[in-house]
Subunit: 221 residues, 2 copies
DNA sequence: CGGGCCCTTGATATGAGTCAAGGGTGGTGG
DNA sequence: CCACCACCCTTGACTCATATCAAGGGCCCG
């Protein structure tokens, strides 16, 4: 039973956001609800003292927002829509009622939070150990999702955030991200569209994600 | 109401570990329980394909272990004692009973998991944005705990893990950690014992944690 | 007292950041 | 519908922080 199934019970009011619109802002009152992303993409970020943004994560359909502030009064981060979005607003008291009625729902909820802890631990582990190329390739593979049955069925994966956002998220600079993506493209491992990409050679990317060095094909090819 | 108060109800059997003893190992069955650290220090880590360890976190008294595998069958990481430890084993079914009986315990538990998510997000944010010196100083300040009422009351803080462990945790190398600690000591900001340290000038460390550059006092001083 | 391991420190290498310029794309207004 | 403009992306040259490689020293344990 997955987090999606939780939401079959816990449906709340729906909310629609246009690209660039905020869902909530750092420092606001939490307001007694979680958000479940039904459609579209958002970014969760903090604004530093010096005005720079720190990306916490990118949210996709099926992700929850607000799981870092359960029991807190104020938001730790801001969320804005990167594309048009549909978001469910799931009130804590709905969840509480659900947990009274459905014996397993509390376990499901705990397991959902636990998975989120694990995801964050994994993200931190990657930041600790991986170089620039490795981080970028892991990021792409994660966005592309699991391998299709046939290599030819690789789908176009959206990349709705700016290079600046990607580089903040990966702890790199826009220049390094751009260079590395260009190199991957030159080698034919991926193709790049304006706001998306397609995996062309998953095997090569998986090698790189394991730590293999990136041999840069000459630009003149 | 804190996570400690949760454990006043949810007491399970106690467990004692000697230094170096494992609490659980990556790949083992989870076994239906969380662990609560009563005394001592442990490290939580994964073993990579290449044999290297990846430190996930260090656990101190008051910390929970196993929150990343609720609802999972197998452990994602190993935990070993860095010092002699006392650990409470809190079975899921104890927690479940508690949540039936005590109306707020479910909220408390969710809030505890939520705080853990926030901690991991913060750790990741630090890894993304901070340089070597900043990471090390933040690590030391976190270990030292909140400032005492008088600067002269700074306590000796234990540092029971090896330099290798620290460097893995911070995404650095043992050499860099050692150099930076030496520089902090030379400047008189900290003093270093064999398995611990004392904050000598918290103000200076807080400056460094905010991103101030580390002016290295000449070695000959 | 002896040995091994970890910590420290130095010299050098290298990957990523910085600074800066040029080009493409999307959006806006005429 | 087209043209202009702004912003972001790309690319290059250079710098710098941190990793790497390696040697010496000290601590702890046997």
């Amino acid at each position: 039973m997955t987090s999606l199934e939780l939401t079959q019970w816990a449906l709340g009011s729906q909310l629609t956001l246009g690209r660039g619109e905020p869902l909530f802002r750092q420092g606001e009152e939490v307001g007694g609800a979680l958000h479940f992303v039904r459609g579209g993409h958002l970014k969760l970020y903090q604004t530093c003292d010096d005005g720079m943004q720190r990306i916490i994560e990118f949210a996709r359909p099926g992700d929850w927002l607000g799981v870092d502030t359960i029991g807190e009064q104020f938001r730790h981060a801001s969320a804005v829509a990167l594309t048009d979005c549909q978001v469910d607003v799931v009130e804590y008291r709905h969840l509480a009622e659900l947990m009274d009625e459905e014996p397993y729902s509390c376990d499901l909820f705990s397991a959902m939070l636990s998975r989120e802890i694990d995801r964050q631990q994994l993200a931190a582990a990657i930041l600790r150990s991986a170089g620039a190329c490795q981080r970028i390739v892991m990021f792409l593979l994660q966005r592309a999702g699991p391998a299709p049955q046939a290599p030819s069925q690789e789908m176009h994966s959206p990349l709705p955030m700016s290079r600046q956002d990607i580089s903040d998220y990966l702890g790199l600079t826009p220049a390094t991200v751009s260079r590395t993506l260009s190199a991957l493209k030159r080698n034919g491992w991926i193709s790049l569209g304006q706001r998306g990409f397609v995996v062309q050679c998953r095997a090569a990317l998986e090698q790189l994600a394991e730590g293999a060095p990136l041999a840069i094909a000459a630009q003149g090819e």
